[in-house]
């Protein structure tokens, strides 16, 4: 049955997240971007909302609620509506924890998840992207070679969100077992920060989302025990893992775009030129109506992919549609957001210049649009 109806619980969560985003994330976003630093108090406040732990099993200290990609998409849109950078940082523990919850063996869950059910913010990191500009997730250059009872990882990763502080990295690598291709060849390995042969680079300096620390990893024959292969002998459903990150990215981009729209509406009604509000000029009004059309389009594509993930059907195609569409439209919306403000849009006093940088960065950083 085709339905756009939120459950009562989702309505409540959405309302609460919207309030949090407006009151906490929005005001903290600009200073964090200027300082290129994640505000620890804000991160702890986010942590206290138990966004990640709620959907982890009770056995590891989680809330035991069913994993819900739809609810997460709703939450991520709201967080990014407040601030895309802080929103991504808030969501980042889930990149690691949900992957372990979804694909990990019982031992792996027992070993790595309890930290995410604790009282203190716990960073998690997923290493997907690589330095080459022609990155393709189905053809990773980072390799994993089976060697006795362990795997040897070699390659380079970039844009690893929260990599400056994560204790473990979930590293995606291509199995050198020639029988496997495409997503089937993609495995994930839990690599401890202090593994021999792993070097963690300095925090990267990026165009936007500057509050979010990202690092590069160099893996030089890093040997990890076979027990660190996520999902054990069965491995992971990499297509599903990637579809999940794409949907998350699309949800963040939707929130960012809605933020631009809702900021521009009152601005354009107040700002006057040639005897009337600029919003009364069709050239401006139609930029806004177009934003409205596209924010909704992005959201429905995101929800559709999320619901397929939730129902356990193949969401690959829907996730590709959602993430690519969202990346294109978010860029256009942020671009027009600057245009609506004119010269003021170029000045750092207003958020639109930051959102313009965020939009361009997020679609790459999340490892979504490009992968």
């Amino acid at each position: 049955m085709i339905s756009f109806g939120l459950t009562d619980e989702q309505e409540v969560v959405r309302e609460a997240m919207r309030e949090f985003a407006e009151q906490v994330l929005r005001p903290a976003g600009r200073p964090a971007d200027e300082a290129s630093e994640l505000p620890a108090d804000v991160m702890q406040q986010v942590w206290d909302l138990s966004l990640t732990s709620t959907q982890l099993p009770e056995s590891v200290g989680g809330g035991g609620e069913a994993r819900s990609p739809i609810t997460n998409a709703i939450i991520l849109e709201e967080l990014a509506f407040g601030d895309a950078g802080l929103g991504l940082a808030a969501a980042s523990p889930g990149l690691f924890a949900f992957a372990v919850a979804d694909f990990g063996t019982e031992e792996q869950q027992k070993q790595y998840l309890p930290a995410f059910g604790g009282q203190k913010f716990h960073a998690g990191a997923l290493a997907v992207l690589e330095p080459s500009p022609v990155f393709d997730v189905t053809n990773l250059q980072t390799t994993a070679e089976a060697k006795g009872d362990s795997f040897v990882l070699s390659g380079k990763k970039r844009f690893v969100v929260m990599g400056d502080r994560a204790e473990h990295f979930l590293v995606l690598a291509r199995s050198t077992n020639a029988a496997k291709t495409g997503f089937g060849a993609v495995d994930a390995f839990i690599v401890p920060r202090d593994a021999a042969g792993l070097s963690v680079g300095d925090v990267e300096l990026n165009l936007g989302m500057k509050a979010v620390p990202t690092v590069s990893l160099t893996l030089e024959k890093v040997e990890v025990p076979a027990a660190n292969r996520l999902g054990g002998e069965e491995g992971i459903d990499a297509a599903r893992l990637i579809a999940g990150t794409r949907v998350a990215g699309a949800a963040l981009l939707t929130g960012l775009s809605r933020g631009v729209l809702e900021f521009c509406i009152p601005y354009a009604k107040e700002r006057h030129a040639f005897g009337e509000a600029i919003a009364q000029k069709q050239a401006v009004a139609f930029m806004l109506s177009d934003m409205q059309v596209e924010v909704e389009s992005m959201r429905w594509l995101t929800w559709k992919a999320a619901s397929q993930l939730e129902q356990g059907t193949d969401a690959t195609k829907a996730a590709v549609f959602a993430s690519r569409y969202a990346a294109t439209q978010a860029m256009k919306i942020a671009d027009n957001g600057v245009q609506v403000l004119g010269g003021h849009g170029f000045i750092r006093e207003h958020p639109v210049e930051m959102w313009y940088r965020h939009a361009r960065t997020l679609s790459v950083l999340e490892g979504v649009a490009a992968v």
């Binding site: 619901s307 590709v320 549609f321």
Partner: protein, 393 residues
Amino acid sequence: MIDFSLSENDQKILDYVRSEALVARKYARHYDENEHEFPPEALPEADQFPGVWGLMGERGEEDSGSSVIGMMVTMAETWGDYSVRMRKGRGVGLGNAALGAAGTPEQKEKWGHLLLSMAITEPGCGSDPSLVQTTAVLDEETDEWIINGEKIFVTTGCRADGVVLWATLDRSAGRAGIKSFLVEKETPGFVVAHKEKKLGIRADDTAAYVFQDCRIPRGNLLGGKEEIPKQGSGGFRGVMKTFNMTRPMTAAFGLGMSRAALDFTREQLEEAGVDLSYGAGVHGLSAAAAKFQELEALQEAAELTVARAAWMADHGMPNNLESSISKAKGGSGVRTITQGCIELLGAMGVSRDHLLEKWFRDVRITDIYEGTGQIQHMIIARTILDYSREQLS
């Protein structure tokens, strides 16, 4: 609960409608090239197809709402062809929708069985219907309205049994003076002047009407309210409400055809060896595959805005904004999609050996009638800015 899957019943209905549509498609080219023939009431194959209504009856809790499935059935129909149907329904003209929305119970009873066209547009006015020049003057002695004026671009204007037209009682009253009247064919003074030749949807007859001292009974004013409201345009707005379902429906007409264009393009590209599989990033795709998937995503987005507007209608939510969003998105989307499909297939795309060039022509109307894309954007902008017509026009 948010859900985008189809129930078994939904799927059965859509599969069935598509099977009919595929048959109808065989006749599409004929009626495109023979513009002055009308598709038959029923195709020769109709006796093998029992019709969808039997399947529609069995709907339950787990099935999509009636407006949602209605939109999807519409898309499945035009996926075959815009104009040719296994069976032509009677009484489903645009004027019938107006009669349903504005007519008194007696009027609905009296004219409900007729096929009614809708005539608003005139040579001098389209997007701005408040400029309607056609007049209706009451002859108190005979209790008749006398209609004078010209109407153009009347859909199903030739085949219709009658028309719902907009005429003004008082030009100086603007919108408030405009009323809907029902005029039956064969009424003296009502002439179908000619049939238009068009870019696309050629099997659909589009007519021009002339009314010259055309007298109709006083009771033919739809809704029966003869007085001109003093302030605002409440009555007019009532008339405009008709469009809340017709706008997503119009988008659905176009999206069925753009879906057909995508399906054809996919077949041809795959046959030519282009890998269209999903999952790889843009760097893992050929330029053709990347472009194709971009068009597919656009189709999905547009279809979802239609579903959204319909879902809201099913739940009794006001959907004025969402109706315009779906019409704007669908109207521009189908242009981009069909243009892009031809770009992808090159010479094959423009050849009349295939239907793609026809779909390209047929979908172009989507962004024009039932309010152009610009008019939809104006409605959207006014709504989100909380502006009146005077503040943004």
